[in-house]
């Protein structure tokens, strides 16, 4: 982080690829600040992934098995047979370039291999060499090239510079999805033990303790109890959340980031307060220390690992005998739940079709997954007038909303969070249309790239988002960006500090927690962060004196 360039220097980005030297002839240089450290052997061993060993991406020798090339090519063949998407995406790209300037990493880095089309061509060139006649005969003239050690390194370097955000896929006339190519590319790399430790460590943790951060059950409870104390201090109301409780109606699963680090913790306090508020209205909900992770870093490893980690959601729901599952604010968690979970680990026929116990609303759109997004749940509560809210408690905030890539382009959850924000805040402004909703920009740190050692990459990738925030900050005085993703909450504060230091990050349910009027609460002087509420600044100072 220390050698991270100054923002004004980093912002000097050239989008002019070399004119005379083609990319196949340009060797890849693995640069510090861009790459993440290689996975440690213990983390691969724990989950039985191949080729555990000490290695570093900058080493000449990556300590691969002798037959690495065969393993890679066999893996590619197997995936072509298993995924129609891969076959189609390998065959039909016309290189129209519509995707090229849509990728946040290309915008922020100018590295031509970060154009989605070229990221895909890295793999496509191998495919052509192996599977097409033209590629075999004409070689480079047909855009084909031999799979070599250098090519492998190039694939690794660039598949870990894609956050699987799917923005390119939105603009592609054929819907070619670089996320799909990156996911499968990473699967192939994982056959050779080529993961990053920022991904493989959470995977191993999640497998063992149920969550990415490796929080053990007693510690998980401790952390939540700590929030309960904080909430009591702020509101005077004592909550009593339950854990691993059999026979509860609803199981709540959220990313462990919400339990662990600011500002996610405030979002977590928001959930706790909401659940407490609803208890009197008939909510019967439990947390789980085992299914204590909504996110799924397995998804950044392979489909199989995604399935292995995802399995505990239904398993725990079944063990506890709940009726349905409520899911917290998280990005890729919801892509997995929406597009994969039921296929992976369903059918969840031991659960019931979700019905809000407070409003009676049937969540028909979750009929078979039996899992409801908390913003769907809360938006329904607000619409049915079940919540007493005081939006003025968020009056010190001028809020904008960052659509996280996965809920936007892998689900379409756009209005629910906005509805909640508009009902809990008085000052809300959208960023420009080309940077929100389905066209939203990634935080630059998704898909397991939110490490410390690749900070330059993250700041570059986050530039388009930060730039849009800066625009509303300057135009409307926006000082807080809401989001519904735990990786956002972990990554965006750093990004904002770097590019737009005046803007903070909040989860949507932190705003709910602040606005929600609990029964029997005392007059609140501070928000959940312990900062004085609007109009309370002076009292706060007096107390301090």
């Amino acid at each position: 982080m220390s050698d991270l360039p100054k923002p004004e220097d980093l912002a000097k980005v050239k989008h002019l690829p070399p004119i005379w030297k083609g990319w196949m002839r340009t060797p890849v240089e693995i640069r510090s600040g861009i790459y993440c450290y290689g996975s440690k052997p213990a983390n691969l061993e724990y989950v039985g992934m191949p080729n555990p060993r000490e290695w570093s991406p900058v080493d000449e020798d990556w300590k691969l098995p002798d037959n690495w090339k065969q393993i890679f090519l066999d893996g590619l063949r197997e995936r072509l047979e298993k995924f129609r998407s891969l076959k189609i995406f390998m065959d039909i790209c016309v290189r129209c370039g519509a995707c090229a300037d849509k990728c946040h990493f290309f915008i922020g880095s100018g590295d031509p291999r970060n154009m989605p089309v070229l990221r895909a061509e890295l793999l496509r060139s191998i495919y052509r060499k192996e599977y097409t006649t033209a590629g075999k005969i004409l070689g480079r003239f047909a855009g084909a090239r031999e799979m070599t050690y250098q090519v492998l390194k190039e694939l690794w370097y660039y598949f870990f510079q894609c956050t699987e955000c799917r923005r390119c896929s939105l603009f592609c006339p054929y819907g070619i999805d670089t996320a799909e190519i990156t996911i499968l590319g990473r699967e192939l790399l994982n056959l050779l033990g080529l993961n990053t430790d920022w991904i493989s460590a959470p995977v191993a943790n999640c497998y063992r303790t149920g969550n990415h951060l490796g929080i053990q059950p007693h510690a998980y409870k401790d952390m939540i109890d700590f929030f309960v104390d904080d909430i009591e201090e702020i509101t005077g109301v004592r909550l009593n959340p339950s854990f691993n409780r059999k026979g509860a109606e609803i199981l709540f699963i959220t990313p462990s980031g919400d339990v662990f680090a600011d500002p996610g913790t405030y979002t977590c306090m928001g959930y706790l307060m909401l659940f407490h508020y609803l208890e009197n209205l008939g909510l019967d909900l439990t947390w789980s220390t085992f299914a204590s992770e909504g996110g799924n870093f397995g998804y950044f490893t392979s489909h199989e690992m995604a399935k292995r980690l995802n399995a505990k959601m239904y398993a725990e729901a079944k063990r506890l005998g709940v009726k349905w599952i409520l899911g917290g604010e998280c990005g890729h968690m919801w892509r997995v739940i929406n597009q994969y979970m039921d296929t992976f680990n369903g059918p969840a026929d031991f659960l019931e079709e979700p019905v809000s116990p407070i409003t009676g609303t049937k969540f028909e759109n979750a009929k078979t997954t039996k899992m409801v997004h908390i913003t769907e749940f809360t938006a329904d509560l607000i619409k049915q007038n079940k919540l007493k809210l005081d939006p003025s408690r968020n009056d010190n905030l001028v809020v904008t909303f960052h659509d996280s890539c996965n809920p936007a382009r892998g689900m379409g959850l756009l209005e629910e969070p906005r509805y909640i924000i508009k009902n809990t805040c008085n000052h809300f402004y959208e960023m420009p249309d080309t940077t929100i909703r389905e066209q939203t920009f990634c935080c630059g740190s998704g898909a397991g790239l939110n490490a410390g050692e690749n900070m330059e990459l993250r700041m570059r990738g986050g530039l388009p988002r930060a730039n849009a925030v800066k625009y509303v900050h300057e135009k409307y005085g926006v000082n807080m960006m809401a989001c519904i993703c735990a990786i956002d909450r972990a990554a965006l504060p750093t990004l904002m500090e770097y590019w737009v230091p005046e803007v903070g990050i909040t989860g949507v349910h932190e705003l709910v927690g602040n606005a929600l009027i609990l029964e029997g609460e005392k007059e609140r002087k501070t928000d959940l962060r312990g900062e004085p509420l609007p109009g309370m600044e002076e009292e706060e100072e007096e107390e301090n004196v």
Binding site: H15, P17, I19, G22, E81, K82, F83, R84, S85, L86, K87, I88, D91, I92, V94, R95, C96, G97, A98, P112, M115, E121, A134, F141, A142, G143, S169, L170, F171, P173, Y174, G175, E180, R208, T209, G210, Q216, H218, F243, N244, T289, F290, H303, R308, A311, K312, A315, N338, N345, G346, N365, A366, T368, D380, K383, A408, G410, G412, L414, T434
Partner: protein, 360 residues
């Protein structure tokens, strides 16, 4: 490989392809080869190639439901869903696909990055690529359909109407005496203009210049040559059209014959067409068929309420709750968390690790 090499490679390939029928028919009078054998081979290659390609795609399943959602999902009754860009069922998908295939909806979204100092980053209006693509494809379609007058006898009315509309300007190719007929087809001009734009854009835009392969220049050159020979033949180096039609009808009726007196330019034009259709199934041009099978566009976003089946779903090794509790039981008890087994009982059960396997 830089763009010069790419263009040279494709350009040379193109020149050779033009010379083949020129020499073949012009010098050796191989009209049978270029009038009958090559067209049949090209047709067979096209149809067999396309069918095999699509079947090859179809043999791989769609294991997961991965539509790119481009609008509000269907959730609560009072939130207005975007039924086309985020379809919940087949109807929406059909409309979405029609928009994609007929109007190039996704390409219409296109923007252009403006990266100025500061940085000030904006995304500007950019519909030229969309427009050129649309103009090219529709011009090609109209020209393709117009050519049916060579293959169909009698010529159906809709072909005739299309032709009249296309030539409604009643303008000759050149405002010179003797070049006032036949009337210029609008699509001929649009096709050539669009192709020229697409070619120049490939060179002019830094990103596309960098990513372009010979396989990107070649189809453009091929289509340009096809178009130019057609234009030449219609307006300047005229051939005996009834003879051409006799040849064409003979081909589709499987009574092939090569009439006398058709100029070499026709054989070059025909050979370009044969190259195009034979090249089709093995090149990026298969996007014509592939677009229909693209899983990010042709699936509804319904996987939360209709279970999507993965045919190769297999059981995986998972970490069960029992294993978890076995590891953390003491700490859980100490923290007051409920457990399945109390410690003394756990002793017996600890060895029996069950792996929970899920069956499809």
């Amino acid at each position: 490989m830089n763009f010069v090499v790419g263009i040279l490679f494709s350009g040379i390939a193109m020149i050779i392809l033009i010379l083949i029928p020129w020499v073949g028919v012009g010098a050796f009078d191989l009209r049978l080869v270029f009038g009958i054998i090559v067209p049949y081979l090209a047709l067979a290659t096209f149809f067999v190639g396309i069918v095999l390609r699509v079947i090859n795609w179809a043999r791989s399943p769609v294991p997961f439901r991965i539509p790119t959602t481009a609008g509000q999902q269907w959730s609560l009754p009072w939130i207005k869903p975007n039924r086309i860009d985020n379809p919940k069922g087949t109807g929406g998908v059909v409309v979405r696909m029609i928009f994609e295939v007929l109007l190039f909806r996704s390409l219409f979204r296109n923007t252009r990055l403006e990266f100025r100092k500061g940085p000030k980053i904006t995304y500007e209006w950019e519909k030229w690529l969309w427009l050129a693509a649309l103009v090219f494809h529709y011009s090609f379609l109209v020209i393709f359909l117009r050519h049916f007058r060579f293959f169909l006898d009698p010529v159906p009315a809709f072909i005739h109407i299309l032709e009249r509309l296309d030539g409604f300007l009643q303008m000759g190719p050149l405002p010179v005496s003797g070049l006032g007929v036949p009337e210029v087809y609008i699509t001929d001009m649009l096709l050539l203009l669009a192709l020229l734009y697409l070619f120049l854009r490939r060179l002019y835009v830094h990103q596309t210049r960098y990513i372009s392969l010979p396989a990107d220049y070649f189809p453009l050159f091929l289509l340009l040559t096809l178009g130019l020979t057609g234009v030449l033949m219609r307006y300047f180096l005229r051939v005996d059209l009834t003879a051409v039609k006799e040849l064409a009808i003979g081909l589709v009726k499987f009574h092939p014959k090569v009439p006398e007196g058709i100029g070499v330019i026709f054989y070059i034009h025909l050979f370009m067409l044969c190259t195009l259709i034979a090249y089709f199934p093995f090149s990026k041009l298969v996007h014509m068929a592939g677009i229909f099978l693209s899983p990010t566009r042709n699936l509804s976003n319904n996987s939360r309420f209709v279970r999507h089946i993965n045919p190769w779903n297999y059981p995986v090794k998972v970490h069960t709750y029992e294993e978890y509790e076995d590891e953390f039981r003491d700490k859980m008890i100490e923290a007051g968390l409920p457990v399945e087994k109390m410690p003394e009982k756990a002793e017996e059960g600890a060895g029996a690790k069950e792996e929970e396997e899920k069956k499809e």
